[in-house]
Subunit: 185 residues, 2 copies
Amino acid sequence: MSLKYAVLAALLEGEASGYELSKVFDVSFANFWPATPQQLYRELERLAQDGLVEARFVQQERRPNKRMFTLTEAGREDLRAFAAEPPRRPTSVRDELLIKLQAMEDPEAARALVEERMTWARGKLDRYERVRDRLLDGRTEEEYLSESGRVGPYLTLLRGISFEEENLRWCERVLAVLRQRAALG
Amino acid sequence: MSLKYAVLAALLEGEASGYELSKVFDVSFANFWPATPQQLYRELERLAQDGLVEARFVQQERRPNKRMFTLTEAGREDLRAFAAEPPRRPTSVRDELLIKLQAMEDPEAARALVEERMTWARGKLDRYERVRDRLLDGRTEEEYLSESGRVGPYLTLLRGISFEEENLRWCERVLAVLRQRAALG
DNA sequence: GGCACCTACTCAACTAATTGACTATGAGGT
DNA sequence: ACCTCATAGTCAATTAGTTGAGTAGGTGCC
């Protein structure tokens, strides 16, 4: 149900193809609503059938043809109604590393997995930084906030950044606990 | 696939019924691998068929009968192998609020949703605090870490706590941005 | 005396998500 | 000449997850 609105929300930024959307869901939207290309194509099909988006074919010369999707007024209205009411389902996090850590017996293996996670988190932060720069486009945060119509994209980006930063802090904490335990044991 | 190992990991704490497991997946495990009772019963069935857990019926007098599950040596071994290798799939977060925020036009409605989220996060932190107290059982963290065989449960609990704390910090940030924008606009 | 809630599940139907393979074309490198 | 990567998708099969109802005895509250 929510994927529907995630797609509609993504289309608020303007007309997009399924392929372009799959890129968006691979970077910025991935932090709060991951989706594979297959999910997106199916969802777009449904949305078009329900009249919430409009599709048009675009013939291309040096690339495969594509379909571009736009929000309809009905889609905009549906999204508006969704955004106004409180979330139905609680935030859900799925993290395999935590299962492994929960079960872990070997502290050395745990340390290795946690350090891998840290490297990964730093990579993600770098990518967010680039998304942020593109959003701000040379302006300061203040300028951006006063000029730009919609703040949503910025706030969700901040959440992604804050999540990864916390991830790093927690990893540090885990390493400290493992060291302490090694010293005590 | 990972639910399987989440269940096995939960059974590391000792024999449990499906019902008891569903309680565990409602509190501590909920932070990194949510599962409904129905999922658990199905998974336990499968695990028993595969010989990774052993089930025994327990007749009860004043309550419905139940089945208690224990890890077998094969289950323990399978879990060990899983825990040693790096995660296959990245962490995934699903958060409806962020879709709503991404789409949001009305700052006042946004503020209300964010404050609701804050109340909720504080409630969750309280519950974690109680879980933590039960784990530590009067000991300091140092004592716990030197006495207890397995650190996993403590580290995953820390992640839950850290996630909600960060949630609160991000909410504060969002409120600040909304205020700033209101002042600028 | 009735009603809601807790324990302890089972069953059926449904929707969502994942995986892998397949179709095309073009660009760039070695 | 071949290989990989990027664009832009489609199809089919399977697994995972959700929802709602049903069963059945016990406890606690007003």
